[in-house]
Structures are given as C-alpha cells and as structure tokens.
Subunit: 477 residues, 2 copies
C-alpha cells in the first residue's frame, strides 16, 4: 500500500492545480485532464480502505466536470469547504454513473425521481426553474445489442399512452450516425460537437437559419452544410435505415453503418413490442449532451393545443439551455463511456436510459384538468366523522379512532363544537364521499347515520357494521 | 402604490447592510432586525404585483436566518448570485412556514418527504450525512386546543406500531412549562435558551454533568440548578400535570399553568385515541429549536438491541448538533409564531407538526432484516419470460409484450440466447416467483410452461389463459 499521507498531499496539490485552472478559465480539455489526475489520486487513496471504499470517496464538484459541455456554467456550486469543491447535482445520470463506478455495480435497472439544480435564470412562467424534478429510468449492464434500448422506448410509449397526454412521436437517432454523417459531409473533426448543437436547433428554427449559423458563425463550408441539410430532412423507419446503408456517401463511414444496423435491429424489436406506430427514425435529432455514445431519442407531443414551452433546463437529459421545443416530454439515449470515467481502471459499464419530463407532464395534466373544469381531489379521505349536536367531540374522537384502527381514511374537524353544516361543506370542498354522523339519538340507538355526500342519501348503520359498510361503499372510490 | 424603483434601491442598500453585518459577525439579534427590515421592503415590492406575488418573492438565505439558533452554521450557503444570498433548506419546517405565508394559506394538513442539507462534518458510520431525507407531517390552522396536537401523536404511534420497530415511548413536554419552570427556579430571562439546551442533554448525560455545565459553564446559581434538577426528574401522565398545577412553586407561573392545563387536555384526547400506553409527560424533554411555542415531543425506541446512534443532524426537527440519543426516531411540536415571521403583517398561522426520522428507521429495518438473514426483494417482478432453446428471443419479446400490456410485472433477460439455467438462477437471486418458459414444443402446442420457482412445480398453461393464470397466482404475492 502506498503512503497515505503522501497521496493526500498530492491530492491537495492537484486540487489546487484544478482550482487555479478554473479560476484562469483554462480550456475544458486542460481542466478535464487535471481533474482525471485528481480522481486517479483519490481512487488510489480510497483503494486501501477496501470495505469502506464507498464511504471514503466524496462526490464533489469534480464528478460533474466535463460532462455537460457548454451547460457546465449552470451547475450550482457550493462554497469550498475544507479544500473540496462541492456542487449540487445537475441531472440524475452523472450521479447514477458515479454510483455504479464507486460501488462496482455492473448491472442494474432502476428508476429515480428526484430534484436537480441548475444555476439558470429562472423563468417561472415558461416552466424554467432552478430546482426541479427529474424522473429517470436506466438499464446498466453488458447485454446483447438494442434489447434494453428497445425496452426504454417501450416504457416511454407506455407512460405517454397511459397518461393520455394526446398523440405523440418518439424520434430516434444515433450518435454514430450523426458523427458518421458529419464525417462524410466533410465537417472537420474538431467541429463535430458544435455543428451537432446547431443541428439540435432544427426543432425550433427553419433549416435556412440553421444553415446560416453553420456557415456564418461556425465557419462550415456551404457544400458541407448543404449535404448535411439533405440528410437531416430525412425521417422514416427501418426502411430508411436500410436505404442509408446503401447510400454511396453514408456507407463510407463505418461508424454510421454500425449505427444504421443497430437502428434496423432496434426497429425489429420495437415491432415485437408493438410501438412502431409512434417511433420515427429522424436524422435531425441531435441531443446536446457529450456523454451519449449510441442511440438517442426524444418524445414530443404532437397534438394541437400543447403550447410551446421553453423546456431547456427542465427537459429530460437535454441540457441545451437555448432549446425551445413544442411539447418535448421525454428523452434519453445510450451512454457507454460515462461509468468508466469514474473508474480508476476505466472499466466500462454500458448504460441506456430515459428521462421523463415529469414537471412538463404535470403542467400539461394540470392545464387539461383546469380546461375541463375538473375538480382535482387533493386528499384521499373516505369519510368525515361529524356530529349533529354540541358536546360530542369525545364521541367523534372515539369513532374516528375505531375507523383509523381499521385502516379507513377518516377525518374529524379540529373543533369542539362544529356546526353540522360546516362539516358537510368541508366534505363538498374536499370531495370526501361519506359522512358518519353522530347525534344523541344515534348514540342511544347504537347506530351511526351514514350520509352519501353527492346524493344526500342517509342511512342508519349499526355501529358494529359501520366499518364493513364504509369499506363496501368506498372500495371503488 | 409606492415607487418601485425607490423600493428596489432601498432593498439593494438593505441587502448590503445585512451582508456587511454578517461578514462582521454581528450579533444574531442585530442581523435578525436588519433581515426583518429587508423582508418588509421585499414584501412592499411584492405587494403591488397581486396575483404574481408568489412568483416575485424568492426564497433566499434570509428565509433561514434566525430560525435555528446555534445550528445556523450548518446551513449550506450557495454563492451569492445577482446580489441574493442563497442556501439549501436545512429542514422542511421553515420552508413549509414560508410557503404558507407567501401563498396566504391559513389551513392545511400535509406530509412531505424530501431531502435537506446541513454543512456538518459527515460521519457516515454514525448515520450523519450532509444530505439526507426528512419526513414531515404538519397541521396548520386556527383550531381548538390540542386536537391537532393529539392527532400528530396518534400518527407517530401508528407509524411506529405498524413498522414493528419494537417497543417505544413518546415523551411529551411543553415549551411554556419549561420556560415557567426556569422562571420559578430563578433562571434569569436571558439564560432560558442556553439553560434549555443544557437540559436537552439529559438524554445522554447524567444529571450531575448537566448540573455542572449549568453552574460552571453557564453561571447558574447552585440553588436554581438544584430546583431544576427536582423537576426534570419527574415523568408521568395526566396525574403529574394535575400535581404540578398544585405545586406551590410551579403554580406561580401563568405560562407553566397554561402548558400544564394543555397537557391534561392532550392526555384526555390521547386516551380516546388509545395511545396513552406509550406516551409519557417528561419534564426533562427540551428540544433545541427556537421556533417551538407549545407542546413538544420526541419518540424513542426502548427495546434492547437498538444501538445508540448519533442522530443529531438527521433526527427529525431536532437540530442540536451535539445530541446523541438512543433510538430517537421522531420528534416535533407546536410552532405558532413561525408563519407570522414571513408575513409582512405578522398574521399568525398556528402549526403543529412531527418529523419522522426516516433514515434512522430505514437503517434499523435494514439491520433487522440482515440479522434475521431475511432476503429483501429489490424488485416487484412477478414473472420472468424465459426460453428453453436457442433462437427464441423474438418469441420471448412477443410474450413479454402481451404480459406488459396486461399490466403484469414481467421481465426478459437482455440476451439473445440465455441458458435456461441462468434464467432460473436470475429468478432465485431476484426473488421472482414465476417463470413463463417457451420452447419449440410449447409454441407448437399453443401453451406456455409456467414454473413456480420455490416449488419447481411446472404446468402447461394454454397461451390464452396465461394472463389470468399469472394474475391468479400472484394476487397474494
């Protein structure tokens, strides 16, 4: 084992190097390189601890560095504490990859609904927050090609169908097809990423403007831009993948061919999963994040009435702060290299995942409920225990205890002597379907008056039958 | 309406004042006073916006200032951005109060499970994290005395009973009884809070050490300390409250009498709720937080085998960073003044709440499952779709689609040609109860071989009956 103190000293020095580069706004590559060294040192330190390995490593800012490209400026930093750079998670994908690497997990399938933080300028009316929920599903592990990828799309299809959000499309593409396309169209290697993020704007800008940005701002040749323009206008299914495999230009790229073959395989599985009606192979789909290595996809609502919303920071795994999308509600892709970046030996764990735009979906569902003037019940209370006369608080508390102990969702008003009318009004406001009313007569007779709020129907139920009767009446509420 | 620009300028200046005081480490009182002025200014600005009121106000660091006493140093600051001080929430109570004030909500009952952040020195082995879950339940509104308070205790009782964590006690006291006790024992007014936090240590230190701290460190007279010592050794039920109301010294304090009468009333409701077996009126209970105004309570596990754990930062609404408690799993109390602190007109909304120590409870449940060598199922998968021969991937995908579409929790292995043995092993590892096996013969016969993993029993089920059969067999799994 190496000398711990020595490594700790080296970590300290290396930490300083990283901080210095950042304060000097050094290039991303240079920072990434030094961060990698820092991680390596930390891994060496952690390695001596064996069982405690996962507790020794921290999850500092370094984890997030070099994953989000231009969006890195949106990461919420926390103050430096004891020589560590800290920040809040920017999405759920990078922390998931770090978790797999640190705990040496080589296969897992999990969902995760939690908050993420972005140091963005908030714009509440456009659904852009600094703190918001993401909802991710990922499959990690070394499996046969495209089976987990197809399952992710099946899940997106199932979620969007069951939530009844209206018609939708799931656009599919592949990072390798994009890179291959750029290569055969004559885009210089070092311009792939920046041209890719220009293509990504096609969902909100017309081709002419995208072309202008490529040529005027990014210095691409007009010829290359026009060749790209031909390809990105294409969309179809398995047939399009087949055709592009025969395309004289595209077929020159091995990368593109690998991507196209996988798209074909993917569609064959999607047919078995009965979801090809909604899935489109679309060469204009170019998700912004650096970590995708294979298939990428994005689901959009296509029905009229879905207002355009700037999803940018809230949308799924889409980190492009500028993108404005009409009804984009889910997205994701394959990221086979990310876990390896956190492993000192660079052991890879292939992953594919999807992020559901849960905040966007909630706001659509809310808008629909409002438009339909539906009353959304905010509680699941089945019965209110009420009294018809004064001085019956004790009796109400006794009865509500019986109901609670039987697992019935019940409430009482927190007043000693509430009026019967105000108790009934509370039920109407909160959508509580039943009222169990106690009065002196009922207590004498050993019954409870059970009232159905909607119909105002009332029936005396023997106290001993009350629980069964309430359960019977609420079993389908 | 006032001139907006003028107010905005005043806010800017006042913000500077607050920041300057903080950087100079001015007294808490001084900072609180200036923060109050700042909030007042912001409210004036917000007030002109009416409907948009809740979107204009931010929830910056100022919200958290002056709520946590000595624990304020644990608040995670975020970098200053655009002149705002920002930090992460320290608990769920203060944000809840702010939410009520900003949205002018005067009554609500809600639970909230979410993460909070504390800039503590993490000690993973002792369950002390910087980022951890809290689970809160609160009732806000102007109601008759002690009814919602009793319901909170009923809920704690129900949760701890249903989770089968072993025997437990819920200690109850009242801030007013503590304050009254300090007054009649001769504690100077300005020493109430500091003596209170010393009393709070009684659950882990013997009386002699607590007394020593009071006298030697905090300068309390020996006589006063000894009088406190008599009271804090007392515990009982309604009878004890009754006795103390007759106590010649205690009965001199109006505050204490109000608290004692409420404890009596509380116990009468707790009797109706059938929970007095576990609730103890304990004068040594003194929760650290500044915001409690009435009843306070804390639940502790009493069964042998519950290891002492430093709960400090993770425990419920208990913010005292030094406290070590044996099995404390819930706590809370009444805080009638907190919402008013966020309202420019200081309109009060009485609140009572409880915080369940969810991380602590999970770790106890995990330990128990480990000790009992129970296998905890990590998935709810009901059936694995498997194949007995090669080249049946398509058939497996077709069948799993049928099952998914029927709402059955099903999986396939993501391999083209997995061995039957490895498919069966996967079921054993993951606790999947059923396997639907496809082979060439089964496909020919229009059946599926359904295998029960535990008994190894196999039966051929006609394909058309499979869904019904699986549902029948898994309805009680």
């Amino acid at each position: 084992m190496e000398d711990k103190a020595q490594i700790q000293e080296a970590i300290k020095v290396q930490g300083e190097v990283v901080r210095k580069l950042k304060s000097e706004k050094a290039s991303k590559e240079q920072i990434d390189e030094e961060v990698a060294k820092l991680l390596e040192l930390k891994a060496r330190l952690g390695g001596g601890d064996d069982g405690k390995h996962q507790f020794v490593l921290k999850t500092p800012k370094e984890t997030l560095t070099g994953k989000y490209g231009e969006d890195s400026k949106l990461i919420y930093d926390l103050k430096d504490q004891g020589g560590e750079l800290l920040s809040l998670r920017y999405d759920l994908t990078v922390p998931f990859a770090r978790y797999l690497a640190m705990n040496k997990i080589t296969n897992i399938k999990r969902y995760h609904i939690a908050k993420v933080y972005r140091r963005d300028n908030p714009a509440m009316t456009r659904g852009r927050y600094r703190e918001f929920y993401q909802c991710d599903f990922d499959i990690a592990g070394q499996y046969d090609a495209m089976i987990p990828d197809a399952e992710c799309l099946k899940i997106v299809h199932e979620i969007l169908s069951e939530l009844e959000l209206g018609d939708f499309r799931i656009k599919v593409n592949d990072r390798r097809i994009l890179d291959g396309m750029f290569a055969v169209c004559g885009v210089p290697d070092d311009k792939f990423r920046t041209i890719c993020s220009t293509v990504d704007k096609l969902d909100k800008l017309p081709w002419q403007e995208v072309r202008k940005e490529m040529v005027d701002e990014k210095g691409l040749s007009e010829e290359a831009a026009d060749q790209i323009g031909e390809y990105v206008s294409l969309h179809g299914g398995m047939d399009l993948a087949e055709r592009l495999l025969q395309d004289p230009r595209m077929s020159q790229s091995k990368q593109a061919c690998a991507g196209l073959s996988d798209i074909k395989l993917l569609f064959s599985y999607l047919q078995l999963f009965q979801v090809t009606d909604k899935v489109v192979f679309d060469l204009s789909l170019a998700r912004g994040l650096d970590y995708y290595t294979g298939v990428i996809y994005e689901a959009v609502l296509t029905q009229a009435g879905v207002a355009p919303v700037a999803l940018a920071s809230n949308d799924a795994q889409n980190g492009s702060e500028e993108s404005v999308s009409v009804g984009s509600v889910a997205g994701g892709g394959r990221y086979d290299g990310l876990v390896g970046m956190f492993d000192p030996k660079n052991r890879k764990v292939p992953c594919v995942g999807v992020s559901i735009g849960i905040e966007r979906i909630f706001s659509i569902m809310e808008q629909r409920a409002e438009a339909a003037a539906e009353k959304v019940r905010t509680t699941e209370v089945q019965v209110l225990v009420a009294s018809a006369q004064k001085n019956l608080l004790e009796e109400r508390l006794r009865l509500v205890t019986e109901l609670w102990n039987a697992g019935i969702k019940a409430e009482v008003m927190y007043k000693k002597n509430p009026k019967l009318l105000s108790q009934l009004q509370l039920c109407e406001e909160m959508g509580i379907p039943l009222v169990a009313i106690l009065g002196e007569q009922e207590l004498k007779d050993g019954v409870v008056k059970l009232r159905v709020v909607v119909s105002r129907e009332e029936v005396d139920v023997p106290r001993s039958d009350l629980i069964t009767e309430i359960k019977r009446r609420t079993s389908d509420v």
